[in-house]
């Protein structure tokens, strides 16, 4: 069970309050599909994913990125109980979506890189550490119901 210190919670919430969920979500998911093209396997119905610019401009990618990051936001409201907060989503990702949990780690790291790109000096090593802990916690919680 991951435990966040008060300082880590402060850092995470502080940055989160400035995050534009639509922009950052869209960018993170887009970059996942560009940098690790095999992840496109889950998105055959999304239309044109034929180039980096097609992916980044694809409205379905942006919308889905927003959805994914909105769920992250819910997780952030439940830092002390990620496993139960994400239990239903975990079942969904296993039973219906059949997503290998390795993908949660990939997306988590891409999200950290996107935040680093957006927040400049504010994205200190301490900030990075808090967010790495969060993305690992979310990835673990999302894998928890796998069977």
């Amino acid at each position: 069970m991951v435990n966040f210190t008060a300082e880590e919670k402060g850092l995470i919430n502080g940055l989160w309050s400035k995050v534009n969920v639509e922009d950052i979500g869209g960018e993170a998911l887009g970059r996942l599909l560009v940098v690790y093209p095999w992840t496109q396997r889950f998105f055959d119905s999304f239309g044109n994913l034929s180039s980096a610019s097609a992916i980044m401009g694809n409205p379905r990618v942006k919308a889905h990125g927003k959805k994914v990051l909105t769920s992250f936001g819910e997780a952030i409201k439940n830092l002390d109980n990620l496993k139960s907060a994400l239990a239903k989503l975990s079942e969904l990702h296993c039973d219906k979506l059949h997503v290998d949990p390795e993908n949660f780690k990939l997306l988590g790291n891409v999200l950290v890189i996107v935040l680093a790109g957006h927040f400049g000096k504010e994205f200190t090593p301490e900030m990075q550490a808090a967010w790495q802990k969060l993305v690992v916690g979310v990835a673990t919680a999302l894998s928890h119901k796998y069977h």
Binding site: V34, V112, A116
Partner: protein, 142 residues
Amino acid sequence: MVFSEDDKRSIKGIWNKVGGHLREYGAEALERMFFVYPTTKTYFPHFDLSHGSAQVKGHGKKVADALTNAVGHLDDLPGALSALSDLHAHKLRVDPVNFKLLSHCLLVTLANHHPADFTPAVHASLDKFFASVSTVLTSKYR
């Protein structure tokens, strides 16, 4: 791993953009790595790892220079990195998992300082580049 012409252009492009800052970024990536992934410190018990450490700066410069050499030899990374590959296999024996951690921190550092140049395509090419360098450096492990 094969680099396309676009990959090579992206990698060399951002390397030229970053220029002299690379050594600073090498040190920053190491600092981030030691902080975010404390297990990586186990390879440096002989170093002062505090913020601003001269030893970390020196090591960052070493890492940056080796990467710059690699950028100049994208068509023959095993050749260009042969000596470093021997060193990591026989002397340093850094567990392969750690190369991913440093690669990630290098990407974070570059994204952080050059957001406009760190486009998705450049990000993809750099990720491939660091992964290839990591593979070469661990290729003689067994």
